[in-house]
């Protein structure tokens, strides 16, 4: 019996079981399903946010970047910390608005704040369009890690099919609670895997992480300063990218929506304080990437660095453990992405766009049906066209970043108007789309999304100052 296989399948099955169990004896309504009845305390919120932020691709990608690019990978440490600091100031105010008006999603916020259903539908569509490639990336990461960890015994497609169908089941039954509970398993396993490998590998090959860095500085010191082993990722790139991704981070509809599930605004604040500690595992991942750089320099695909090094260093059962951890680490964000994409379509496109009189039960039923639809659609794409959507991810990230002025000004500036936000948003997204699709990213040395955001912010303010909105609309 292939022990790695047993560990991987057992973990996927147990996780799905826990996810389904999480929703038992809870009377499901939209509030319970999408934001877990706003009942999460500090631990669950932390796990949930860490669960959706630190994905399989974060781990493979961070070690891959440390391996192939070097110092530019450090931007991951920077932007996450920026985002958490920002969330300390933004999310509590957002949570209070969400609580007061019973909001569930990001478009709900736009609809309430700007009294415009068309703005809500527009934001929802951009959100769904951005989520799909992100979801795709999770599926690809899951298939990849299980296939490699099982030494090819499970094909990537079989792993994706099994894990994602089970994910779909627990999202359907338990909603956000399911994702949060599975996040507990995910975090324990992932931290164990990263801890063992990240501390173990430099010690095994060099004696200590410090000695590993000594060897690296003797071999190729320029790998450890900007722009590392890349031609164009210098300080300017690192700064504009870290700033853009830091600002845009909480603008992802699923991260934004998860904030509503906290019990109070204080919980959100405390969460922002402790989130940066979760960056420390990233440091360990960098250790792995750098060790791989020294030990297996002939490796072609940087994303393989972590797995290849584990394969060479540890027994097969541990490889199975890493594969299992990778699989759950993809299931949690996938669950949250599917959940919010479904709610966006049912509540903010269907209900807000076409049937404002639809009942809440109808919206919940439709959301659940959309879970099945999106799952099928994503599986279809993942298996038939595995590589087509990856480029859209950059577009998606730069796209959701454009929500920033509408969200933040909406919270803290009374004068901002619907027309202002709409104008900024449309122009910002148009700029991003044109620059990226015509291959002009980076533009003038800056991240294309950053260019869009600057124009967007300027237009939002300028147009808001020259238009007026009814007084009753402010929150």
């Amino acid at each position: 019996v292939n022990i790695a296989l047993v560990i991987i399948f057992a973990t996927i099955a147990i996780s799905a079981g826990v996810g389904i169990f999480a929703g038992r004896r809870i009377k499901m309504n939209l509030e319970n399903w999408t934001v877990a009845g706003r009942r999460f305390g500090l631990i669950l919120i932390w796990l949930l946010m860490a669960g959706e932020i630190y994905t399989t691709f974060t781990f493979l990608g961070a070690s891959g970047w440390a391996f192939s690019k070097g110092a530019p990978a450090f931007y991951i440490l920077i932007y996450g910390t920026l985002a958490y600091t920002l969330s300390f100031f933004i999310l509590p105010a957002l949570w209070r608005v969400g609580k007061k008006y019973g909001l569930h999603t990001q478009p709900d916020y736009f609809i309430k704040r700007y009294d415009s259903r068309s703005l809500g539908v527009f934001v929802a569509l951009i959100g769904v369009f951005s989520i799909i490639p992100y979801l795709q990336l999770q599926l690809a990461g899951l298939g990849f890690i299980v296939e490699v960890a099982s030494n090819g015994a499970v094909s990537s497609n079989a792993a994706i099919l099994l894990a994602f169908v089970l994910t779909c089941v627990f999202v359907y039954t338990s909603g956000l609670r399911g994702a949060a509970w599975v996040a507990i398993i995910k975090d324990v396993m992932m931290l164990a895997a990263v801890g063992v490998v990240g501390i173990g590998v430099p010690i095994i090959y060099f004696g200590s992480p410090g000695k590993m860095f000594d060897a690296l500085m003797a071999k190729m010191p320029e790998h450890l300063i900007f722009p590392g082993s890349t031609p164009n990722m210098d300080v300017g790139w690192v700064m504009s990218t870290a700033l853009l991704t830091g600002l845009g981070f909480y603008m992802w509809p699923h991260v934004f929506g998860s904030a509503f599930s906290a019990k109070s605004d204080k919980i959100i604040k405390r969460n922002a304080i402790i989130m940066p500690f979760y960056q420390i595992p990233i440091l360990l991942i960098f250790f792995v990437g750098f060790t791989a750089f020294l030990i297996i320099p002939e490796l072609k695909n940087g994303d393989m660095a972590f797995l290849e090094l584990v394969n060479r260093t540890y027994p097969p059962w541990f490889m199975g453990f890493v594969g299992a951890a990778g699989a759950v680490t993809a299931m949690v964000p996938s669950a949250i992405l599917v959940l919010f994409a479904s709610t966006l379509l049912a509540k903010n496109v269907y209900q807000a766009g076409f049937r404002p009189q639809a009942k809440e039960e109808t919206v919940l039923r439709l959301s659940r049906i959309m879970v099945l639809v999106i799952t099928t659609f994503a599986l279809f794409f993942a298996i038939l066209f595995p590589n087509e959507l990856v480029n859209l991810l950059i577009l998606g990230y730069d796209g959701v970043c454009q929500f920033f002025p509408g969200v933040v000004l909406g919270l803290f500036w009374k004068r901002v108007t619907k027309t202002g936000v709409f104008t900024g948003l449309v122009v910002g997204i148009a700029i991003v789309a044109v620059l990226i699709l015509t291959g002009r990213d980076p533009f003038l040395g800056m991240n294309a999304g950053f260019v869009g955001l600057i124009v967007n912010g300027f237009l939002t303010v300028a147009v808001s100052l020259s238009t007026r909105q009814k007084q009753s609309d402010t929150l």
Partner: protein
């Protein structure tokens, strides 16, 4: 690249230092905010 601190190259150490300092700084902000709110509105937690 120099100096090497705690075995880490300086750039990595510097970035990491701020990552680790962020939680205590935010915690101080949290405490200050609580104190100011209390004296403003006389509202306890």
């Amino acid at each position: 690249l120099d100096p090497v601190i705690l075995g880490l190259p300086f750039l990595l150490f510097w970035i990491l230092l701020w990552v680790v300092l962020t939680p205590p700084i935010l915690f101080i902000a949290y405490l200050l905010e609580k104190k100011l709110n209390r004296s403003d509105e006389g509202e306890g937690e």
